[in-house]
């Protein structure tokens, strides 16, 4: 490093530590321009989701020290985490509530991207990376909810086995017969703690790289057209980052309050072959469809929805961002959204139904 850059670096950081860090890490490099509208909550939902994932990683690593992924020991080990491990109940509750938030913010983030047309050229590929992240997120929720091996988990596993059977060779990984040496629960734990987090890391790296590459999409004003905006705008990324962390901390505060008031639930040890519980909200809406179409609905409905989401950047290729100029796509999406919500409400009110067998 030349003398002049050294002086420049030492001027930018104010404290000694700041200067030391600046010289070695060049942190001031994140002070690039970003558009002002990117600092509003709808445009920070992705960042809040990412913040939530960091909480999940830390709490998940702690829980994994005490969780026993063997079918004979799983439920007992969760009881032990709650009753015997230092901060175990709290850590588990934070993990549980953060997972609920992260799923919600990821979905809202996707709706924001959909509503503002942020998936348009040149951001189509990042939309697909985002769909990958959504699949990973839902995969994490599903595998995570099975691990506690209570009644609800065993029922989820039964649905898992049924859909695996329908999928045939494609579903082989999800069936108990796939591996004689490792129980299905243990393999799902591997999925939850190793395979899916690895995929998440790959996808989020690509996601963030592409965001930096294209810049945040322009504000969806009536006349706005889709453009790359990298390095443009009147705000700066360090301000954007502070906001992101700010909303992240607000979420964390709420998660702590919920953990204290409503600790993560655990049911009785699971007994296979009956259906007494309902799944969590992110899967619950599927159940009226299952009633109508049988178990195959659990594959057909998500596959159709995923397919429609994949079609979005292909169907809507105009350069306009304003929702008013994309009425047909958005009303179609709104219709589907309403059906999903009604489905969820119906499922929540219905008595538990026997689907299995």
């Amino acid at each position: 490093m030349s003398a002049s850059t050294l002086t420049k670096a030492s001027k930018e950081g104010q404290t000694r530590v700041g200067r030391w860090l600046e010289e070695r890490l060049g942190i001031s490099g994140i002070r690039y321009a970003v558009p002002e509208h990117a600092n509003s909550l709808p445009y920070l939902l992705g960042g809040v989701t990412l913040f939530g994932f960091l909480i999940l990683i830390v709490t998940g690593i702690y829980l994994a020290q005490f969780y026993n992924p063997q079918p004979t020991g799983a439920h007992d080990s969760v009881v032990y985490i709650v009753t015997g491990v230092t901060l175990g109940d709290l850590t588990r509750s934070i993990h549980f509530w953060t997972a609920q938030f992260v799923t919600l913010t990821a979905l809202l983030h996707m709706l924001r991207v959909l509503f503002t047309g942020a998936y348009k050229r040149p951001r189509e590929v990042n939309w697909y990376v985002g769909l990958g992240l959504l699949a990973v997120t839902l995969g994490l929720v599903f595998t995570g909810s099975v691990l506690k091996f209570d009644q609800e988990a065993v029922e989820a596993l039964q649905h898992n086995a049924e859909t695996a059977a329908i999928l045939g060779a494609l579903g082989a990984w999800f069936s108990a017969e796939f591996s004689r040496s490792v129980p299905l629960l243990t393999r799902l734990f591997n999925g939850h703690a190793t395979i899916l987090p690895l995929l998440f890391t790959l996808f989020i790296t690509a996601h963030v790289y592409l965001i930096k590459q294209h810049g945040i999409s322009p504000k969806s004003d009536p006349q706005a057209e889709t453009l790359p905006t990298s390095g443009e705008g009147r705000s700066r990324f360090d301000i954007h980052l502070k906001r992101m962390v700010g909303y992240g901390l607000l979420t964390f505060g709420a998660v702590l309050a919920l953990s204290l008031l409503f600790p993560a639930p655990l049911g009785q040890p699971g007994v296979a072959g009956v259906e007494l519980t309902k799944p969590w909200w992110m899967f619950l809406w599927l159940f009226p469809a299952e009633e109508l179409l049988g178990s195959k609905a659990l594959i057909v409905v998500p596959a159709v929805l995923g397919g429609l989401l994949a079609l979005v950047p292909i169907l809507d290729r105009s350069r306009y961002l304003a929702p008013k100029r994309r009425k047909s796509l958005l009303s179609g999406a709104a219709l589907i959204f309403v059906v999903i919500v009604i489905s969820g409400i119906v499922a929540a009110l219905q008595p538990v139904a026997q689907h299995l067998g």
């Binding site: 020991g73 009753t83 009644q151 700010g246 607000l250 702590l256 007994v271």
Partner: protein
């Protein structure tokens, strides 16, 4: 700057090596269990080393929910150090699972892992455990209630919310 870095590195290495130093200086007791996988009702040998002759260790078998007292082991002199080798029987009704064997005096403790499997012989009384009733009810858990912890959580939540609000409004 260079000096600062070097002193930081020295401090870091020193801190990292502290436990090793302590262990070497005091000769921390260690135990081993043979075999490491044993069926309930069978015997294990617990071997202790790096101990002081004359000490008596209490040996317990600790599971996820409870701990079973196996017995005591008296340390005998062997060379510079003391050691013991004692055989215990794992109670036949111990549920299969992962356990730790703990050898402890008032000041010192050493642990080793052991996995217990189902008893080798089938129950002769022909009484299988009653099949559990499936239930959707939540489990009645004895969640630990600590006021200090709750206060800590509330303070952390408030700090987090305050800091969050401050960052969002900047």
């Amino acid at each position: 700057m260079k000096k600062q870095l070097i002193s930081f590195l020295i401090l870091f290495v020193a801190l990292a090596l502290t436990p090793v130093g302590l262990a070497l200086a005091h000769g921390e007791p260690v135990i081993a269990v043979q075999p490491t996988i044993v069926a309930a009702g069978e015997e294990i040998i617990v071997i202790g080393a790096e101990m002081e002759a004359g000490e008596a260790f209490v040996i317990t078998l600790e599971g996820m929910t409870d701990s079973i007292l196996l017995g005591e082991a008296a340390v005998v002199e062997e060379g510079d150090d003391g050691s013991f080798e004692v055989t215990f029987t794992i109670p036949a009704d111990t549920p299969p699972g992962s356990y730790t064997i703990r050898a402890a005096t008032d000041e010192e403790t050493a642990v080793a892992d052991v996995t217990i499997t189902a008893p080798v012989e089938a129950h002769t009384d022909n009484q299988s455990a009653p099949a559990p009733e499936p239930s959707a009810a939540p489990l009645d858990l004895a969640r630990p209630q600590s006021t200090a912890q709750n206060v800590g959580v509330i303070i952390t939540a408030l700090v987090s919310l305050g800091l969050g609000l401050w960052l969002v409004r900047r």
